[in-house]
Symmetry: C2
Subunit: 417 residues, 2 copies
C-alpha cells in the first residue's frame, strides 16, 4: 500500500548522538519518530502505523470485556484536582486561561471520569460499569530520556471500573488483568505481572506489568514461579527464590499498571449510588493503565538484533518489505510491480521499495525497519526463475517466480515456503 | 453489540438550561457528550462512536489521495512559533515547564510539520509530499458556546502539502479539495465551498467548507450556481445573484478550510530543497483542516426533527436500535434476544434496549438517539407474527417475525422491507 519512493520514511545511517537505549536509536534510525523538543516526539508515518496497531489490540481486548470507549479532555479545570488533593502534584502542568481561571493538563483521568460518573450513576442498577479512553497525557517530566520511554507527552489507555463493593471490584480487576495478559501476549512481549505499591494513585492494591529489557528503568526480581517488583521486595540477586532456584534481577520497562482505588476518588467527588435498601454508598473504583508507546519500545528492545528492528508480526508497520533491485523500466521492474499488485490485492500490507537507489541501501533499510518478510526481486533471481524471501527473524527461501505471491503469504501465515 | 442495560448512555428528558443550539441540546440529551468545564467536553461512548466514524471517513479519503498519517505533539516548544511570528496569537495557550522554558499548546501544526520537513526533505525527488494527522487542539477561546461547536479543546484533521512550485501546490490543493467533497458527501452533509480570506494562516488563497444550519456562526450567500462567504462578498440577501435568481443568506457552520500557504512557513523555518540544477528553493506549502466534531454537530443540525436526532446512515452510532418491550423472561424476551443475535452475527451494529423500563421511555429514547432503523419486539406484534420496523427518516413497516432479521438488513441497504 506504500511506495517507498513516495513515503515520508527518512532512515538514518547513524543514531542520534544522545541516544543510549536501543529502541531510541532504532526508532529514530528507522524513521519511526522524530524529536520536536525535549521529551516531545512526533510519530512519523511508519511509527504511527505501529502505534495504531498496538492501540487496535488494546481497543479490541477492552471491548471484549465490555469496557466502553469514550474520550475525556486533556485540558481540565483545576477544581476536581483540588477536591481530591492532587492539584499539588509536581509533574502536572498548570496554566491559566485568559480570564485567569486555573487549568491543568491531565496526566491521568480519575478526577474527570469520577466527576462524570458522579453525575450519571444513581442506582445499583447502573453498576458495574467499565469505561476507557485512549488519550494524550502531559507530564512535566524533569528528565525526559530514551526516546519514547520517558516523555512529556504520551498516549495512554486508561480504563476505569465502577462497582458496588470490593467483591465487584475484585471481579473487574480480574477481567482487566486477563485482558492485559491477552494484550501483552498479542503484542509479542515477554512480560511479568508484579505487585507494586499504590503511589500517588491511592488505593489498596496494585500490580505492574513489566517487560524485561536492557533499557528498562525499573527492575524485576525473577526466580522459578516467581516475579516481583524489586522496589517492593527484600529479595536480592543471588538469593534463593521462594519456590526454588535463584533470584535474578533484570531491568524492565513498565508497560502497564492496574490499581484497586476503592473509594479514594468517589468519596471526595461524590460518586455514590443507592443500594437496594435505598442507602447511599460510595462507588468502588479501579483504574487500569497501559502505555502503547512503551509497548512499541519494549517490543523493539526485546527483539532487535545488530541489523535493526525485528518486529512481532502483530506490530510490524508492514507485513512485507518488497525490494525491487530494478533501475529504470524493464522486466525486473515489471515483475516487482506485478508482485506488489498481487500481494496488495490479497490483502497483505506491503511496503514497496521502488526507489532509484543501490541494492546495499535498500537491503540495509529493510533489515533496519524489520518487517517480518523481505522479498527481493532482482535480475539474477529472475534469471533463475526465483524471488528471494528472507524472514526477518531468520530463514532464507527461494520462491519460484510464478508462485512467489502465494508462497510469500503462506510464509507470513507460518506455513512452509 | 451493545446492551443498553449495561451501556453508559445517559439520556435526559430536558436539555441543559444554557443550551440554545439544537445540536448542543440533542447531543447532551441523547447522552453523546457531557461538559467537564467551560468549552471542555467529554465524548461519552455513543458520541465517541459517531466521532470515530467521521474520523474513519476522513482517514480513508486522505489515504486515497496518498496523504500519509502521522502524529505530532500538542505540547510544543515556543521557539518555532517565535520564528514564524505567531507566538503572540492571543488564543494560544502558553505555559512554562519546571525549568521555566516556554511552551505552547498547539492550535494548529504548521510550525511543527515544517520543522520536520525542513530536517528531512533535501531534494526535488522528495517532493511532492502530503502528510496529515488527527490530533487534539487547544484554543483559549474567549466565548465557548453551542456545545461542541466552539470549544477550548477539539480534535482536528490537519493535512499539509509540500510542493516544488505553485503549479504543484495547485495540484495538491485540487486533490484535497476533491477529497473534502467526498468526505462531506459521505458524512451526509449539505455543504458549500466558498472563497475566504487567509486570516492568521497567511498565504495566497483559501476556501471554507460551510454547512448551512440555524446554529451556524458564519453565513453563506447562496444563489443559483453561486455560493460565497458573506464576509468576503458585497452581496446582500435579496440582491440579484451573479448567475440569476436572488441571493439568500443562510447561517452556516464552518466544517473545514483549506489554504494555499506558499512559502509563509517554509521560509522562516528553513524548509528548502535543491532543484535539478542544484539551486536551493523554499518548499511551497498548503494546509487543509477539517473539524470532525463540527461535522457531527452540523449533521445533527441539518437532520434533526422535533423528536430528536436523525443520523445520516454513515455517522449513526448504531445501524439498528432494537427495542424489546419484554419485562422479565418469556417469549417476548426470547424473540428479541434471538433477533439481536441474528443481526449481530450478520455484522450489523445493534443497540439492544433490554432495559427494565416502560415502552414510552424506550421508544422516546430511540427517537432521540436517531439510529436509522428502529425494531420493536413486543407481545402484540408477536401475536400477529410481526416485528415493527420504523425508519428514523420516515417509513413504518411490519416485518414477518421469521424474516425480520433479513428484512431489517434489506431496509438498511435501502431495499424494500
Amino acid at each position: 500500500m506504500t511506495r517507498l519512493s513516495q513515503a515520508f520514511l527518512p532512515t538514518l545511517k547513524d543514531p542520534p548522538s544522545d541516544a543510549e537505549a536501543v529502541s531510541h536509536m532504532l526508532m529514530v534510525r528507522a524513521g519511526l519518530i522524530r524529536r520536536l523538543g525535549a521529551g516531545l516526539w512526533t510519530w512519523l508515518p511508519a511509527g504511527w502505523r505501529v502505534l495504531r496497531k498496538v492501540e487496535a489490540i488494546v481497543r479490541e481486548e477492552m471491548e471484549a470485556i465490555g469496557c466502553q470507549e469514550m474520550l475525556m479532555p486533556v485540558l481540565q479545570p483545576a477544581e476536581p484536582w483540588q477536591k481530591t488533593g492532587r492539584y499539588g502534584i509536581e509533574e502536572m502542568f498548570k496554566l491559566s486561561d485568559r480570564k485567569g481561571s486555573p487549568l491543568v493538563l491531565a496526566m491521568t483521568h480519575e478526577e474527570s471520569i469520577t466527576t462524570h460518573v458522579a453525575q450519571e450513576v444513581r442506582s445499583y442498577r447502573d453498576l458495574p460499569l467499565m469505561l476507557f479512553h485512549i488519550q494524550t497525557k502531559e507530564r512535566d517530566e524533569p528528565r525526559p530520556r530514551a526516546g519514547v520511554l520517558r516523555t512529556r507527552e504520551f498516549t495512554m489507555k486508561d480504563a476505569y471500573s465502577f462497582d458496588r463493593d470490593e467483591e465487584g471490584l475484585a471481579r473487574s480487576y480480574e477481567l482487566q488483568s486477563e485482558a492485559y495478559a491477552r494484550i501483552l501476549d498479542r503484542c509479542g512481549l515477554r512480560w511479568y505481572r508484579v505487585e507494586s505499591d499504590v503511589g500517588m494513585m491511592g488505593g489498596s492494591e496494585a500490580h505492574e506489568y513489566m517487560a524485561p529489557c536492557a533499557a528498562g528503568e525499573d527492575a524485576v526480581a525473577l526466580a522459578p514461579d516467581f516475579a516481583a517488583n524489586v522496589e517492593a521486595t527484600e529479595l536480592r540477586a543471588g538469593d534463593p527464590g521462594p519456590n526454588g532456584g535463584t533470584v535474578e534481577v533484570e531491568p524492565a520497562i513498565e508497560v502497564g499498571n492496574i490499581f484497586k482505588l476503592g473509594t479514594r476518588y468517589s468519596e471526595p467527588l461524590g460518586a455514590t449510588f443507592l443500594d437496594e435498601s435505598g442507602v447511599e454508598r460510595p462507588v468502588v473504583m479501579g483504574c487500569y493503565g497501559i502505555g502503547p508507546a512503551r509497548i512499541v519500545a519494549a517490543a523493539i528492545e526485546q527483539g532487535a538484533d545488530e541489523r535493526g528492528i525485528v518486529w512481532p508480526a502483530s506490530l510490524a508497520p508492514w507485513d512485507i518489505h518488497l525490494v525491487s533491485l530494478a533501475k529504470g523500466e524493464g522486466e525486473e521492474r515489471t515483475a516487482a510491480d506485478a508482485l506488489y499488485a498481487e500481494l496488495r490485492d490479497a490483502g497483505a500490507e506491503v511496503l514497496y521499495d521502488d526507489r532509484d537507489a543501490g541494492p546495499g541501501e535498500k537491503l540495509t533499510d529493510a533489515e533496519l525497519l524489520g518487517c517480518p518478510l523481505r522479498l527481493v526481486v532482482g535480475r539474477r533471481g529472475l534469471e533463475r526463475g526465483v524471488v528471494e524471501a528472507g524472514e526477518r527473524a531468520g530463514g532464507e527461501h527461494e520462491l519460484p517466480r510464478e508462485e512467489a505471491g502465494a508462497r510469500a503469504l503462506a510464509l507470513l501465515q507460518g506455513g512452509d515456503d
